[in-house]
Amino acid sequence: GPKVLQIPSHQIIDMGQMVTLNCDPVSNHLYFYWYKQILGQQMEFLVNFYNGKVMEKSKLFKDQFSVERPDGSYFTLKIQPTALEDSAVYFCASSLTGGGYEQYFGPGTRLTVL
């Protein structure tokens, strides 16, 4: 089936540094998402993105977070500066249309903030 790729698979950084997580969504998909999963806990929605704009963000999407997809390249999640509580696995997803349809997930990026 359609695949979403995420780069890198693991990232270890020091608190206060900037990190960019990259997502290569399914080629003809129009909606993009980031979710956060802390080990052993449920997946939580961070943000969705359509037509170059953030459509909705959760309270987990702090001011230090930003997303973009310049010129149809990677869909990125940037955290600047990082905090210890940002340690988690971040999953990117994409869908062809909006709500009510399947979201395809990437394998995740495990972020460790020291």
Binding site: Y33, G40, Q42, M43, F45, G98, P107
Partner: protein
Amino acid sequence: SQWGEENLQALSIQEGEDVTMNCSYKTYTTVVHWYRQDSGRGPALIILIRSNEREKRSGRLRATLDTSSQSSSLSITAAQCEDTAVYFCATDAGGSNAKLTFGKGTKLSVKS
């Protein structure tokens, strides 16, 4: 139930047994997604059931949805070892601002 304050639920069954996982939700949904997540991987959709459907089948999987009680279930018939995974239900209010709200999940172990 996957909603509420309980921790990730764990179920262990023998190969060949049937199993049902339940999910209750609190907010309006047009669709319930059932995902499975294998260790170290992202969630993969296994069944999507819409609010106008009471039951949906896919191979050995059967999902039900009761919008009046805001609950859904996923059943696996004759479970196999490869069914071992974490299963999540997720609600989706639909519309253009799509987002999934996941339950805490059920960790299913199928032993031979």
